[in-house]
Symmetry: C2
Subunit: 331 residues, 2 copies
């Protein structure tokens, strides 16, 4: 295992030190491992709390800041944060307008956010939650009943973050979150496994000459193994299942071509070219795009495609100013 780390057991703790030192938009509660905005918004704004296992950076801590999240709970590597982390975050960010929990559909995350919601409720904080399940690869998976939550999470945190920032109330924010989740679809693939520091060896075995189509963001098995193929064929293996699952024509879309952590940007641009050509051929209108590392799987090489069927409201929220380490424009 070759990594820029200290003690494998302390990677999350140590990385939070660097996140806080590098980003003056946030502060870190190191006891609870929660990343907060350094300058919280005034009363009356719906607050957004997300979180999940670490190892997917910049998600979620890199999306804390004006126009996106109010707090992100950092779990251990690929492990859900605990309910007490989520409860602390929820109580801290509530400004009287309620708190939305943004949860990716993994059994541990869902259970722990539910428990945190009950605890917050007992302290008089109103919470709602959105469970994201956009991965078309498989119906059930290693850590999930139902579809996994992946790339749509990134787009949702931006779009719903903008809605909360402009003052929409909790009901409106929840409705929007459901709409975004309902209209987003993702499919990923891996060229290599990732290595969890504490494990010290690759999570799964992926021989030379093979790739995994439909990979999960923790290395969960996808749909199938396939021989390595040119980028144009890989693009088809991502685009087709997404479009088979939801009609993306007749509306503007937001497309994310995401790197899994160890994929060089030149390959992501090349893949974006292939994907965009296929989408155009299928009659899909790409109104906005993101190319880069947004929801990663440690040092996995590979990529994922997310397509979100949008509308004018969603595009306007997408374009609204955002000021986070992972996504920034308009400020």
């Amino acid at each position: 295992m070759k990594k820029l780390i200290g003690e494998p057991a302390n990677v999350v703790r140590d990385a939070l030190v660097g996140i806080e030192l590098s980003d003056d938009r946030v502060r870190v509660d190191h006891q609870h491992r929660v990343i907060y905005r350094a300058t919280p918004k005034d009363e009356g704004k719906v607050a957004l709390v997300s979180g999940g296992g670490s190892g997917h950076e910049p998600m979620h801590g890199g999306f804390v800041g004006a126009g996106m999240l109010d707090a992100a709970c950092a779990g251990e590597m690929f492990t859900s944060p605990t309910p007490d982390q989520m409860e602390a975050a929820t109580n801290e960010v509530d400004r009287g307008a309620g708190v939305l929990h943004i949860v990716k559909n993994y059994t541990g995350d869902v259970m722990n956010f539910e428990m945190a919601a009950e605890l917050a409720d007992a302290s008089g904080v109103k919470t709602e939650s959105i469970v994201i399940d956009d991965d078309v690869a498989v119906q059930d998976s290693l850590y999930t009943a139902g579809r996994r939550g992946v790339g749509t999470t990134v787009l949702l945190e931006k779009i719903v973050g903008a809605a909360a920032e402009e003052g929409r109330d909790l009901a409106a924010v929840v409705e929007l979150a459901k709409r975004v989740n309902g209209n987003g679809r993702s499919m990923g693939m891996a060229l290599t496994s990732c290595t969890v520091p504490a494990a010290g060896k690759p999570t799964f075995d992926l021989p030379d000459g093979e790739m995994e189509i439909g990979i999960g963001i923790h290395g969960e098995p996808g749909r199938r193994r396939a021989p390595l193929a040119p980028a144009s064929e890989i693009a088809e293996m991502l685009v087709d299942p997404v479009l088979d699952d939801l009609d993306m024509t007749g509306a503007p879309t937001i497309v994310m071509l995401n790197g899994m952590g160890a994929t060089p940007l030149i390959e992501l641009y090349l893949m974006y070219g292939e994907v965009a050509a296929l989408l155009e051929k299928a009659g899909v209108t790409i109104a906005r795009n993101l190319v880069g590392n947004y929801i990663t799987s440690l040092d996995m090489a590979g990529c994922s495609l997310t397509v979100l069927r949008a509308d004018d409201d969603v595009l306007g929220l997408w374009d609204a100013p955002v000021n986070t380490a992972g996504m920034r424009w308009g400020v």
Copy 2:
């Protein structure tokens, strides 16, 4: 070799297609392989042209846009662009105020940019050049007489880009570029080799349990091989040579902790924490920082540190608005 590509010989061509499709701030001249701003500035602005071998994305094409470069010439992988690419770019972007060539110190780049300057001169376009040589690792190297040009290039393109944008003349822009180069120092390290697509195998051999300290951005040998070490010790191996080479105390600094292409962000944040602690201990004031992938070496795992001794002028230019794929704020 596991990569998201088509024909290995066509990676640069194919990636430029994706860059153009994804980024409406730029247009691409595919014949000359030059990336231009989609909306050029008016007459009277000093124009900035950079370029170099591909494989270092987002540098340089991802730095074309308002507040940074006017054009970037994309060479073949790890290979200098040709003089005719540079000449085409220089003539295209000149607005009557002259053109600055931003050149990293590699023999091919320096020679080709000199030739392009002569050609442009013959067409009546005034050019100046800055050759960046900030890598403290080694005096001469595989493709370089003198020090190699690395991370300071990224900071310089931002700072000098802002100066040109605010209307400084060619002499002032050249003076600033020299000042930035003179005050910037870098040192890099690799955990793994990179693989050039056309070669199909790792550029060098780096066994399990070893790392290369002082690596070049094309995999050129550094100062030494060392056994794998914890992040805190690696941080010392980067910080010490930089501070030994230039006193960074008594002035604000800009610090970049850069990933080599296949390093997950969580490791870069962790390393930044270690580096920042060492710099603080040494009495260095970090006024601004960048953590992420800015000057990469294909799929190499590792990182580099750049420290720039700044002043109020430089910090003001750093903070000025910039709108590129690789760096964006204020717009």
